[in-house]
C-alpha cells in the first residue's frame, strides 16, 4: 500500500546527529569587552525648522537675501549653537572621566568594561 506523503510531513524532519555534525564556534559565544562609538555620534540633522522658515521667506522674496535678515541670522545662530554644543560634547567624551550613573558614553563604558572583562 502506498503511504501518503502527508504522514511523513507531520513528523517533520529528523534532527541531525550531533556526532556526525559537531558544533562549531565560529564567533566566540560571549560578548566583547568593548562597544563601538557609532551610536553616540548621532545624526547631524539640526535646525530643520529654521531652514524651512528661511526657504519660505526666500521663496516669497524672490531669493533676495536682504529681506530675510531675521530668518538668516536665526538660522545661522541655530547652526552655530549646534556646532558649539557638539564640540563641547566631543571634548567631554575625550576627557573620558568615568562618573557613576546610567547615562554613559562609549568611552566611559569601554573604561568600565576594561576593568571588569568577561571571563575567557
Amino acid at each position: 500500500m502506498r503511504i501518503p506523503g502527508a504522514l511523513y510531513a507531520a513528523r517533520g524532519r529528523a534532527p541531525q546527529n550531533e556526532k556526525e555534525v559537531p558544533f562549531q564556534e565560529i564567533l566566540p559565544l560571549r560578548l566583547k569587552n568593548t562597544v563601538s562609538g557609532k551610536a553616540d555620534s548621532g545624526s547631524d540633522v539640526a535646525c530643520l525648522q529654521e531652514m524651512g522658515v528661511l526657504f519660505a521667506c526666500l521663496k516669497d522674496n524672490e531669493f533676495v537675501e536682504k529681506y530675510c535678515d531675521k530668518e538668516i541670522s536665526r538660522f545661522q545662530k541655530c547652526y552655530k549653537v549646534y556646532m558649539d554644543r557638539k564640540f563641547e560634547a566631543k571634548k567631554t567624551v575625550n576627557q573620558g572621566i568615568v562618573q557613576p550613573g546610567s547615562n554613559l558614553n562609549y568611552k566611559q563604558l569601554n573604561k568600565y568594561m576594561r576593568r571588569f572583562p568577561n571571563p575567557q
Partner: protein, 215 residues
C-alpha cells in the same frame, strides 16, 4: 653625506619631518585692539607658552584679513610676490573706476571710493547660506542642502569671485577682470551673485531631502 644621514636619523626618531607646536601652546594675539580689549585674557596668558606669530601677521592698517586671504587664494606655484602685485593692481583699478565715476557725476556723492571696503562688501555679498552635498541613499544620489560654517562660506565667496575672473580672454588681465567682478558683486549684481542665487534656488528645490543629512 653627513646631512642626509642626519635627516634619516631624525625621521626615524620622530616619524615625521614636520615640526609642530605642542597642543597646550596658544595662538598669539598680534592686533593692538585685541590686546586692549582682552586685558583679563592677557593676564591669564602670561604663564602659558605662546606660538610664534606668523610671518605675515603684522598689525598695520595696510593689512586686512579678507585682503590677505584673497592674496593667498590668487597665489599659484608659491609666487606670493606676484599675487600681491596682482591684488594691488586690482585695488588700484577699482579705485580708478570709482573715482572716475564720482568725477563724471559730482552731484552724486554716494560713490564708494575705498577699494578695500568695496572688496569686503563684495565678499560679504557673495557668501552663500547653504551648500548642496550629494548623499547616496538606496542607490540614488540626492542633493541635500547643508548649512555652512562662516569660514567655509567666506572661502566659497572668494573662490567664486576668483573663478569668475579667471574665465576671460587671454588679452584681458586678471586684475582687470577681478576688479570688474568685485565692483559688480559689491553693488549686488553680476555673475557671482547670480551663481549664489542659483545655489539657493537649488537648495530650495531640494529642501525635501534636508533630513537625509548626516555626519
Amino acid at each position: 653625506m653627513s646631512w642626509s644621514k642626519n635627516i634619516s636619523i631624525n625621521t626615524w626618531r620622530c616619524g615625521r619631518l614636520m615640526s609642530m607646536y605642542p597642543q597646550h601652546y596658544v595662538d598669539p594675539i598680534y592686533k593692538m585692539e585685541d590686546q586692549c580689549s582682552k586685558r583679563t585674557e592677557l593676564l591669564r596668558l602670561s604663564h602659558i607658552p605662546i606660538k610664534g606669530a606668523l610671518n605675515n601677521s603684522s598689525d598695520t592698517i595696510f593689512n586686512g584679513e579678507i585682503k590677505q586671504k584673497m592674496v593667498n587664494y590668487i597665489t599659484k606655484n608659491g609666487e606670493g610676490f606676484l599675487s600681491r602685485k596682482l591684488m594691488a593692481q586690482t585695488l588700484e583699478m577699482i579705485k580708478r573706476t570709482q573715482l572716475e565715476g564720482s568725477y563724471i557725476s559730482p552731484g552724486y556723492n554716494k560713490t564708494e571710493t575705498d577699494a578695500e571696503s568695496l572688496l569686503i562688501q563684495a565678499v560679504e555679498n557673495c557668501r552663500p547660506l547653504l551648500q548642496l552635498s550629494s548623499i547616496k541613499r538606496g542607490g540614488v544620489k540626492y542633493h541635500v542642502p547643508i548649512p555652512l560654517t562662516n569660514k567655509k562660506s567666506y572661502f566659497l565667496a572668494m573662490k567664486w569671485l576668483l573663478d569668475a575672473s579667471r574665465e576671460k580672454d587671454r588679452k584681458v588681465s586678471l586684475p582687470e577682470k577681478l576688479a570688474w567682478e568685485i565692483l559688480d558683486a559689491a553693488h549686488g549684481h553680476g555673475r557671482v551673485i547670480k551663481k549664489k542665487e542659483e545655489l539657493s534656488r537649488q537648495c530650495e528645490s531640494n529642501r525635501a531631502y534636508a533630513h537625509y543629512r548626516w555626519s
